[in-house]
Symmetry: C2
Subunit: 153 residues, 2 copies
Amino acid sequence: MTAQPGLYLEDLAVGMRFHAGPIAISADDIKRFAGEFDPQPFHLDEAAAMGTFFQGLAASGWHTASLTMRLLTLGGGAPFASGVIGAGMTIEWPRPTRPGDELSVESEILEIVPSRSKLGRATMTIRTTTTNQRGEAVQILTGKLLAFARSTV
Amino acid sequence: MTAQPGLYLEDLAVGMRFHAGPIAISADDIKRFAGEFDPQPFHLDEAAAMGTFFQGLAASGWHTASLTMRLLTLGGGAPFASGVIGAGMTIEWPRPTRPGDELSVESEILEIVPSRSKLGRATMTIRTTTTNQRGEAVQILTGKLLAFARSTV
């Protein structure tokens, strides 16, 4: 592994926060993603969506999650030298992403636990809140990410 | 909401299982998804991926999650009349999805809790395990889904 720009384990601390965005999502984006991965009426068609639980076109939760990942990687929302490698996470969608929304992410390091078996490696717990242009949370992702020390890469 | 084919709350019971798949994933699929949502070297390029934690090209976890959703919806892996509407979940990726993998899903209803406030509505806890062609788990998703009784739709 060659060294990359970004933060190493030595640079990280509980309470650090990172921000990225916004990125816009259109009705066409929503329908295209849903057509490939989540073809349910409330993600595909405005009229059909009106009569459903969502009462209007809504993005697939996996689309919101994927755009969040785009903001964390390409958008610089998780500037870690070793990348964004998650082993597991919890995810909540308190409200849907809608056509025309502009999504941003704010992440905070909640915990850093050094590996017992592997020197220079740790697991970080990070909470990433994805918000729309009104500051309303559309997703709360709490994940465990790997972090590596400079000496190990 | 008009009635759709599929199972209603009255039809569902703890222990019921559902299966769907397989669906194949290619190196090109992996790179295309990653290029849009998770452009990290280990998801984009075979040679660059060799020197990383993954030691070879691996699909974004969000790609595995999105294909799982395709199997649950289009593939019939979650045949619920009200669709697949999740409020929250936990997700683990015990090993990566690789080029050429063929993914299947097996879901089991773990719990059904009637809503206290809304008649004919319940929250189901479902565990969906996504496996590759060797039967190895690449994702374990435990989610809370909405379920509706016939009379409410």
